[in-house]
């Protein structure tokens, strides 16, 4: 996936590798996320073959895989796991098997209230990171958003659909702190600034992720930025040009050439 994005990028432009750096990293984490998804799908398939419904204990492998992901991608991953579509499990109506990186003592399991009657009900089916893979059948990177459930930070969530026998049964994913993404794109943004060019990286939902303009703040809506209307998308950046496989629905805006 990372290679595909690189091939689509216009390498003649300054800063053209900006998104490639992110895609490379995220592509590697996606492999680990997919492992979690595959283990979940395999458990569902095994239960199906055995002619019995899927139960929460069948997902025991997720814990190890999430721990592996958090260990091997400690530079990016702040949390990882899988959530199940309502009704996918026989013993619980909803299920979140999610671990977050805790220094020293190993991954901690996330505890949230999944009772729809509760005032504190955490309805993960309403989140962008759940809905996008459900809608498109493809991995996506949601955010940035304030994650007050798990990381308590400005966060992105990489997520991929989990299917069994062609049916959507949940989402496997990984939380990535916004600071890590900012660090990855900073060299590219600086390079463009040295070349005298504005650069604003925008999420699929129209939020500024990072920029090299002091007035264009991360988290603001690009449509309400007075400085941005003159900027145009940079060719080959952020769009799945020629590949159709980029998981980043992000756009890099810059001055017209």
């Amino acid at each position: 996936m990372a290679e595909a994005v690189a091939a689509g990028a216009d390498l003649s432009q300054p800063g053209a590798t900006l998104l490639t750096a992110v895609s490379d990293h995220i592509g590697r984490v996606l492999i680990a996320v997919d492992r979690i998804g595959q283990a979940t799908a395999a458990a569902a398939a095994a239960a199906r073959t055995a002619g019995r419904p899927l139960h929460r204990p069948d997902l025991a492998a997720v814990r190890t895989l999430a721990a592996d992901l958090l260990h091997h991608h400690a530079d990016l991953a702040a949390g990882a796991g899988v959530v199940l579509a309502p009704g996918a499990l026989a013993d619980v109506p909803r299920c979140i098997e999610w671990w977050w990186a805790d220094e020293g003592s190993g991954p901690e399991q996330l505890q949230v209230d999944l009772d729809p009657e509760s005032a504190e009900f955490y309805d993960y089916t309403m989140t962008e990171w759940y809905r996008e893979p459900q809608r498109t059948g493809r991995p996506s990177v949601a955010g940035p958003y304030v994650d007050y459930i798990c990381t308590h930070q400005y966060t992105f969530t990489l997520s991929a659909p989990v299917c069994c026998a062609g049916e959507f049964i949940g989402v496997a994913g990984c939380d990535i702190l916004a600071g890590q993404i900012e660090r990855l794109v900073e060299p590219g943004l600086s390079e463009l600034r040295r070349a005298g060019r504005a650069a604003v990286l925008v999420s699929g939902s129209g939020r500024v992720i990072a920029s090299n303009l002091p007035g264009v703040l991360p988290g603001t809506a690009v449509s309400r930025q007075p400085a941005c209307p003159g900027l145009v998308p940079v060719a080959g950046q952020g769009s799945p040009a020629g590949t159709g496989s980029s998981i980043l629905a992000w756009t890099l805006l810059s001055d017209p050439a």
């Binding site: 940035p144 304030v146 809506a221």
Partner: protein
């Protein structure tokens, strides 16, 4: 990795109030019913599985932080608050009196006075002999009498100061949300306003739904810090907000939240800020008025 480490150390200071998000139902809610704003990452209250729990040093830092001026009422208030917020759990054993007095920075006599207040409220039970000590007794739903006692113990200037802090946080969060909220943020906010409208007619039920709205606004402002401040403030004042609310006034308070959501959706930052500030001011006035009533009644 460094930022994650930093975050973990921050957790120490924030775990207390955040863990209190489940506030009103300390022992019952602790094992599974974690509040959405309870940090998955932060160590919550000690496992209630064991009947006699030692207070962890982590929580001790905040609950038992030294008291300035060293007064029994302040000690009592802090302990009552901690119990109401679920920071101290049912069955939990308090540290030895001498140790606790030292941690609060008060004399053993003052501490005993404070414990007497809690004992009279039925919030602490003292058992003598081997395995004895002072144990927390917490009810699932905060009792009005306890909240009123807590409110009486809070000096008005402190209620005013908390209100100032809340107005600053809620006002700024509302303003920034009006500038930054996108479609999905508004959908979440609307959802939680609807949840407040339909919330169970209990102090804790409404308080949770209310807190969630303000946390969603801060999240829509794209600010983890403002979000944390909202969470901390809500765990600090928690159930008090809904204590003085008469049933006929509930609809009006829900309407205040709806109007705030309208201003945010209409991208009117100044109006959103003003509405949020007025909302906090109205709550504070209700609290102060209720408190004066309690004092007048000699409760």
């Amino acid at each position: 990795m460094s930022s994650i480490r930093d975050e973990a150390s921050l957790t120490v200071t924030r775990s207390l109030p955040a863990a209190a998000g489940s506030g009103a139902e300390p022992p019952a809610a602790a094992p599974h019913g974690a509040a959405p704003h309870r940090p998955g990452r932060a160590p919550g209250p000690a496992s209630p599985a064991s009947a006699e729990l030692a207070v962890t040093s982590l929580r001790a830092r905040s609950v038992f932080a030294p008291i300035e001026g060293g007064r029994a009422e302040t000690v009592a208030r802090r302990l009552i608050q901690a119990i109401q917020l679920g920071l101290l759990l049912d069955g939990e054993r308090l540290p030895a009196e001498s140790q606790l007095a030292a941690q609060f920075g008060v004399s053993p006599v003052t501490l005993r006075e404070a414990l007497a207040v809690l004992r009279s409220m039925g919030l602490v039970q003292t058992r003598r002999g081997r395995g004895g000590g002072s144990f927390i007794r917490a009810a699932a739903e905060p009792q009005r009498a306890h909240l009123e006692r807590l409110l009486r113990l809070m000096p008005p200037h402190e209620l005013r100061d908390i209100a100032d802090h809340r107005a600053a946080v809620a006002g700024m969060a509302a303003r920034l949300a009006a500038e930054r909220a996108l479609g999905p943020d508004m959908a979440a906010l609307r959802e939680h306003v609807a949840r407040l409208r339909e919330a169970p007619a209990t102090i804790s039920g409404r308080r949770r739904a209310d807190a969630r709205i303000h946390i969603e606004i801060a999240a829509a402002a794209q600010s983890p810090r403002l979000t944390r401040h909202e969470m901390d403030l809500w765990s600090e004042i928690g159930d008090l907000v809904w204590l003085p609310v008469a049933e006929p006034d509930v609809a009006g308070i829900v309407a205040e939240h709806a109007a705030l959501a309208d201003a945010i959706e209409a991208q009117q930052p100044e109006r959103a800020r003003l509405l949020a500030e007025q909302h906090v001011a109205a709550e504070t006035e209700r609290l102060l008025s209720w408190r004066l009533g309690l004092l007048a009644a000699g409760a």
